[in-house]
């Protein structure tokens, strides 16, 4: 009897933890997740904290993430970020990778990094949110920046 109660309580506890974790992932503010990903994925570039801060302030002010990502893409990013591990990957892995790259790309495109040809010797500066309607002709990989 005591053993059965123990298992029952264990299952209920596990369920509660899973539900709580799921709710956390589902309801976590996207901008918080975006910060975590950007900081993690650009950690090796030696970027000053104030570059990140200016970007995060501007992107929040202009609510840019909402125009860059559909809500289902935001959910893909969240669930993959928290659940993927070396043994298990959720479906839509390509979509996750593409959107994670897009997220980090939005940050890096708002700096001088790509315009300086990704040169690790050049100090990275914030130049303003990447938005073709505010700053057109700014595709750093195009022929304008790479003359053949």
């Amino acid at each position: 009897m005591r053993r059965r109660k123990f298992f029952k309580l264990s299952f209920l506890s596990l369920g509660a933890v899973a539900a709580g974790g799921g709710a956390y992932v589902f309801f976590e503010k996207f901008e918080e997740l975006a910060k975590k990903i950007i900081l993690a994925d650009t950690a090796g570039l030696g970027i000053d904290r104030d570059v990140y801060d200016q970007f995060f302030i501007d992107i929040k002010k202009k609510r840019k993430w909402d125009s860059i990502f559909f809500s289902h893409h935001k959910q893909i990013l969240k669930w993959h970020y928290y659940i993927n591990n070396p043994l298990f990957t959720l479906p839509y892995k390509t979509s996750y990778e593409v959107n994670r790259s897009k997220l980090v790309g939005t940050f890096l495109l708002s700096t001088n990094f790509f315009y300086e040809k990704m040169n690790p010797q050049v100090k990275i500066k914030y130049i303003g949110l990447h938005d073709p309607y505010e700053r057109s002709c700014a595709n750093p990989f195009s022929n304008i920046y790479y003359q053949s």
């Binding site: 979509s95 990704m118 195009s142």
Partner: protein, 479 residues
Amino acid sequence: MEKFDLIVVGTGFASTFFLKKYLEKNTAAKRILVLERGILYPHAERLKAVRGEEIAEAFKGYSSADKTFKSDNTDKTWVFDPNFGGSSNCWTGCTPRFLPNDFRMRSLYNVGMDWPVSYEELEAYYTEAEDIMQIGGPDVTPFPRSKKYPLPPQHLSTVDKLIQERYKELYISQPTARATIATGKRNACCSSAVCQLCPVDSKFTIENSLSDIYGDGRIQIQYNAVAMAVVTENDKVKGVVYRKDGKETEAHADIVALGANAIFNAHILLSSGDDSYYTGRGLSDQKGTFGYLYYKNLDDVGGSSIISANGYMLYDGEHRKDRAGCFIEHFNDTTIRNEVGKWRHISKFKFIFEDIPGDENRVMLGEDPLVPVLDYKTHSSYVDKAMAGLRENIEKTFSFLPVEKLELDGYFQKSEFHICSTTRMSSDAEQGVVDKHLLHHKYRNLFVLGSSVFPTITPVNPTLTLSALSLMAADKIFS
């Protein structure tokens, strides 16, 4: 009852190219009525809206496509702009020609049907349409040409150059209506990669290049005027019934040209009692999916525009007997590879398949006489067979590149933004709705224009071809 020489429905590519040629050829025409269901929503105001700036009061009534039709299929979207200039406002400006073999799918591959018009017959009109749109393109193409493109080609990227070296004329700088140098009122494209609304007004639009036509004193244009039906009498069309400001009006004309789109052209004909079996049937679009090549020590940089090149390696050939031809677009946007030191060791491609228009996919009448109902079930197995072999084909095709990894979306995009084949062209009335000159088989003074007349849809963008067909149709009235 007002009487006109010509009534044109719509102001997009199909209508405007028809009208341009008609006005050039027919100096005797005195009165022309143009019915536009939307408004003139200028590019400058659209830019303000996308930047979050206040737009003028007159343009707040801008209508989007969403509420103009009904469809229960959430897996398939239909994208267009129901305003002055039509989809020239939102297109990307890709202007490849069809291949000569695209016009002979039945004869060569035993699928779909042959077009009643050949590439050779259309060639002069392709050239003319390219001149009007000031297309930039390369000297060597997989389709024959009688004249050089008016503007220089786009720049190829580092990866494009390697692929072109391997595949020659099967991999080319994309012919495009995104101006490669400034021309007319258009600036040169500078690769902002948001062509749905170009920040520098580079791509050809009706507004920036052909709106003068509508200033011709012979033309009376009615905005917010929704064409409902053509009025028929025996085997002739007498005119058009349209609704404006809640009121229905009937106008008469010697000639009527429907240049709405493949949804509304079919709907207008169905509302008029057109009893052709094929009216409304064959609703179709291509199917596209993205793929990413990750390279070892190879940067993909230096290309111009949003799509720098097109690949024909998987397009034409015997495989089309069994599975869809595939057209390749190389995207030159700001995609990165999220790995330190390998940021641009990546290429983004779109693989676009043709479909065979199926009779079961239809435009139908609904309860509201102004709102078509779309019954789009699904694409054909012809597409799925091609999709099934895509990974293997890509691996084989790009095996000479230093590819570390290939990632495929594995699903189709919801739209390729082309609506086709609901009033298909045929040699006789048994097989379709209009003849090779886009004249309705039954009503011989009624033109049906645009991609609704395509018997087969090919994997490539339809705009240049439908524009060339409109020029040919108007030209033939007077020959």
